[in-house]
Subunit: 434 residues, 4 copies
């Protein structure tokens, strides 16, 4: 098996992008290649280069690129003229998805959720979740957290912490209060207690919330992982104050932290869960908002969307559920690889006096500044490793390798990272982080 990248150094002609694609594009700037095909953990550019993917479409490709089983299921479906676009009509593909989701995911976890097929992007799923919470509680205010990331449409963007993204709204973002996440104010301040105090005080100015919206690990916000104890407290606070607990599992779910959901075995059950990214298994647009059956109080069509019936995604999602989640072996693999990743990152951190973050296969290393982090990721890319940053100042180099990655390949990629970190920090020796 191939375990090393083979990057090209030639930057292709990008005239068509400069002429016709908005300058809003971002990843293409730090990875200026034109990609041609991809399989497993590898992306190939149109000049013969091969790159190891430690970004995985921001956790959208947990099962790697074009997984053969998913790919074959999709090919079979298309060749048989399966329904491609079905609005919210019943289709074989949707039935199969719902059945496998019930059997493989919900029943073993004793979760009595209903699934709402929203428009197939994470932000649509979040919008549906907060709408439902507001509708049910009759309240407007949603509590989100520092460094949370929930999407770009106005309702979800109001829940997102990032100032640059928020600034793009062009209108004030209202009806959301951002509270400090677990550990935000250091180890001596229990931020759940701060929240409880303000919610219990009729004169705190914090309005009674419709929902508390939380990521168990903040993928974009810097790989901060909340402790189970803190999450349980947050769940209890939500319940005590009549708010619904929404876990945004768009990035941390679908196996990224080991279990299918990132909150499994933590001793609480969210009222609402959002899923997207790796849900289709193959990178196709697909999003779900799950909620307790008692909360299913929508009117027909009250929230809809043209592409809520993306049947291709149902097909690959079903194949992924059956293949990866019918027993615990995949989850066990992920946990083992997560431990390997943790150990390697900790070693790097110790070497340089840095700290690490994260959980499962969703981890990063805080290199002190976005400037340093970008030098490191560029050095990685020059060596054929696709890797990106995270965090409020992009100061976390994050590893989001496909979950199916072979251990040897994972190690090879981490070797590149280790080398690039060492080289960069040596070069910037004596230079204070920003």
């Amino acid at each position: 098996m191939t375990i090393t990248p083979k990057p090209t150094q030639t930057i292709p002609d990008t005239g068509i992008y400069e002429r016709r694609e908005s300058i809003v594009r971002s990843y293409a700037r730090s990875m200026p290649r034109q990609f041609h095909r991809a399989e497993n953990v590898w992306m190939h550019d149109n000049q013969g280069g091969r790159y190891l993917d430690f970004l995985s479409g921001c956790s959208t490709l947990n099962y790697g690129h074009n997984h053969p089983i998913l790919k074959q299921a999709l090919l079979d479906y298309i060749m048989a003229d399966g329904i491609t676009h079905g609005l919210d009509l019943h289709t074989d593909a949707k039935a199969a998805f719902l059945e496998s989701f019930e059997e493989v995911i919900l029943q073993p976890r004793k979760l009595n959720y209903r699934a709402m097929f929203t428009g197939p992007t994470g932000t649509n799923a979040v919008e549906a979740a907060i709408k439902l919470a507001r509708k049910i509680t009759g309240r407007e205010m949603v509590i989100a957290f520092t460094n949370g990331f929930h999407g770009m449409t106005l309702g979800a963007l109001a829940c997102t912490g990032n100032a640059a993204k928020r600034g793009g709204a062009g209108v004030p973002l209202s009806h959301v209060s951002h509270e400090p996440y677990d550990g935000y104010h250091g180890p001596d301040v229990d931020t759940a207690d701060l929240l409880e105090q303000r919610l219990s005080d009729p004169s705190s100015g914090l309005d009674a919330p419709a929902a508390i919206l939380v990521e168990t690990v903040q993928g974009e916000g810097g790989l901060n992982a909340a402790s189970p104890a803190w999450l349980r407290k947050i769940a209890a606070i939500a319940k005590r104050h009549g708010a619904l607990l929404i876990v945004d599992d768009i990035q941390a779910g679908c196996g990224r932290t080991g279990g299918f959901f990132s909150f499994e075995d933590m001793g609480f059950t969210p009222d609402i869960v959002t899923l997207a990214k790796s849900l289709s298994g193959m990178g196709l647009p697909f999003a779900l908002t799950l909620f307790r059956a008692e909360l299913d109080q929508w009117s027909p069509g009250e929230h809809n969307g043209t592409f809520r019936g993306n049947n291709h995604a149902f097909v690959t999602a079903t194949a992924a559920l059956r293949h990866f989640w019918s027993n615990d072996s995949f989850a066990a693999d992920v946990r083992r690889r997560g431990a390997l990743l943790e150990s390697r990152l900790d070693k790097m951190a110790r070497e340089h006096g840095l700290t690490t973050r994260g959980r499962g296969m969703m981890r990063g290393i805080d290199v002190g500044s976005g400037e340093i982090a970008s030098v490191i990721t560029a050095a990685c890319f020059a060596r054929g490793l696709i890797i990106e940053t995270s965090g409020p100042r992009d100061e976390i180099v994050k590893v989001l390798a496909p979950l199916i990655i072979d251990d040897a390949v994972l190690s090879a990629g981490l070797d590149i990272l280790e080398t690039s970190v060492r080289e960069t920090l040596a070069a910037s020796f004596g230079v204070a982080a920003e």
Copy 2:
């Protein structure tokens, strides 16, 4: 060629939906079958039934279901392990799409637009459009129109007129003023003049707008088609008052009214255009926000989204652009079929003293009440014709047949509609419309 439907009358087991799918589903209620496959204008249920599709995924399937050329392009791409999910990385598929869009669509129409790949749903494209308008103008207020429909996420929903959808927001929808659409107040009131008067009055209370957001034909709002003269006036008003003109061409674009854009040959050029629905050609999630190159003032990543690089959609969209839009023959076909449709609907309307609405292949008949309309569409469905309603009270029976429909099949479908209308109105004779 088959020209008649063969509906089944057996309603399949829907237990899995009742257990696991949110009651927010809507179309599945009036068309209680489970669909198995589809091609061209036909949908097949899992019991052998065959249905003629006059809904076309709400104009998402303008080229019919699983068009063989698009399907083959997609199969080839998948088999070759083409990039499926690419964030906003450069890929062969994206380059090919941008090149064909430039060559086939933009250049012949002398449009110097840039394309922003938003999350692949129409509402995401609308959110990006109004964000950009607000950012550029430094203003908050967007003018939308009565009966406009622009999406379900909070920013787009604020622009949507429908009270039931708006009510789902759970928060007040702000920063948008809904002005009367062309003809809203009857033939004697020029609603563009009303708007101009208020925008010119420094004490009208109507804040200076960032954008005017308009559909040339209101697909969900009742097939109201604005006149070119009114649209030109609106374009001039936008310009005069420093607002950007956004044409939401999500439903009316991609050939539905004849041209690729619904505003072609009308004597004005929108500043921003949103596309989605039929853009991929095959029903895959894909949305674009187009704008004049001078307006491309985004910061990198300021508005992003996980699935903005849905490469499967790029592949089918490219195939669709090349196949249908390289010359004028398809557009001419659509115009001819649109005239046929118009003539048949007008005949039905005259027979019953009703009125028709719409333009091109996007037309409907006002049957006076949603109650009557739903009886008609149910009667159609019982005869194997999939057709839906539109309008503020669902009182318009709308025909959104695939644009590639054979004239004989179109006639056969319209025969079913004609029969169902006649039968329903006869039955409700003497019963006042609601």
Copy 3:
């Protein structure tokens, strides 16, 4: 009796204002004198000048300056150590006011209103009114009108049409829709019908309103007077759509149009009425929000304010009610003087091909531009007449003389206006209005 002004031409030292008063001041700019004392219709500057007051504190001094009966009542009260400030405690002065208001105003008009003593400014009364309407209906949206003026605090400012005032908010002003006032779109468009159509349309985008907030004559907005028929239609629309009708009678009430309320004898009863300005009779801060007893659903202290018990104002208001409103003679005087004013203004308008506006003793002449209007008012001031402008572009010269003005003095003031108009328009002959 003195009937002519005696203006001074010397502008006094204004150093203290320049050093210490915010530049937000406005009237002092066009009337640069320092005033020393005032009585009846006369203001005296500190250099011996005497000015005829056709501004009346923007209708706050309907009974003139320092009316001897009101003044004596206040002196007696103060000398006896009557309660000055009483929060909302029961006091003799408040009881006397409520009793006289009940006896002199409410009972003869068969109005079963309760009085809410808000903070003593008009904007506070309006804020209380819209809060109550929102509370009772559970809706957010308030319908206000083009050119309406309701105050400067955020809730009231959102209802105000003037763009310069709105721009001062620094935040978007939400939850209010400004609809065209009576006659706004010319004589051929019934703007009440436009409103009814949109409110009856479930897809118009105009949310169901909590209240319709209207002035019967728009004092700041240009002296536009709504017809009784239009107001009745608006009242019926409010009722039909479950909204409360709020008449903002702050400027037009307290006798300005003849009756105590401006809506008397028009065939409808507002749900809520706001009063301020001339309510105390002597210019002291005082505001009331009146509402039908059934609407009195406040919780104790839910809306409060430190100065809601301004007992000095209760004393003068009581004296004013008893003196001016115990019988119809004052109202008859006002109507007679209003007719005189109308006739003189119409004559001036005819002479110059202009139009007039208004009702009762609240009238103006449209001189075509704010520039011309300001030349006219300056010319008046130079002749000793205090007079101001109104309207979206300040193009209306408005006459708000004290209601108690002697007919001969009124005529003398109008002579000055007539001369100033003639002189100004002659000078600007050939100069196009802006």
Copy 4:
């Protein structure tokens, strides 16, 4: 000198209030007497009763009721037909006020403020302050604090913490974030540090603020007094993050804490200060927004109000400034009385294991629950002492005696309080606080 109250026990007829005054009234419920006259620290009911006033119109009557010097100045002014209502025209009374304010207050404190005469209520002054801050910074968000109280109009109400008051808005209150006040999270958490951390984090979700709005002592929120060190930190945070520091000194200013402003000698200068309540000295409606001269960037008339020229208040305010603030003796008296008050309250607190709050002559005792507090204040009232509660649950019995109170009378009042506390706590022995 009289030092003991003589309460009546007969509740007067309140029919007129029940018929005609809104049930929103509050203080009249716990003090059901009809007051007739008042002087110094005494209020007299219409049945001959005499009450010692420890409420002082919520700190509006710092110089007592109807102070003879102020009263005489007002009588002289009225008798001479001084201008009563002057919009924002220059008047002798306004000039005299500005001159004395400059000479007696600003110059000795080296404060270069300009004065904006807003509508004469505290909430109007706060609205003007936050408007100006938003206008100058171009930002929307205002930081206010837990338990802050700033007024009832929508802009100020959004800054107020109290949930019952907020609930009256009927619309979501936006553009304000309530942060924990000094000591809110206990002695171990420096809440200024928490704020600094979030404002410095570009991904905290806390938008860049236009202003930080703070009371140095929270009059309504429970007599919480911020430490000078914390306030200096807040001032520094405001400066560092480009926000304006607004001190709402409406209740704590005008001598209540010793100095004219409550922030004197603390080592920072607010950008904007709001004053109202005791500003007129006699309880007349008067409010000011002060700001650094460089911030005076209003357009003429951009924020106005009918009663911004309440000349009676200018007259009494001028007399009060000259009489009480020309030298330091009054301030010294207040400080001495404040110490006396502190010592007595501390003694009571120690006796019962309670805590005290506050600063200067603005202090309270936390009796554990609103229920107990209301029994205590009722017991006081039955003994002729007017006293009220404060705090999020009304659990603080607050002493807001006139600042001019004779020491012996203050002691007599505190004796009544002491007795009532002791009696109440004895009676509720064994009864858990709510």
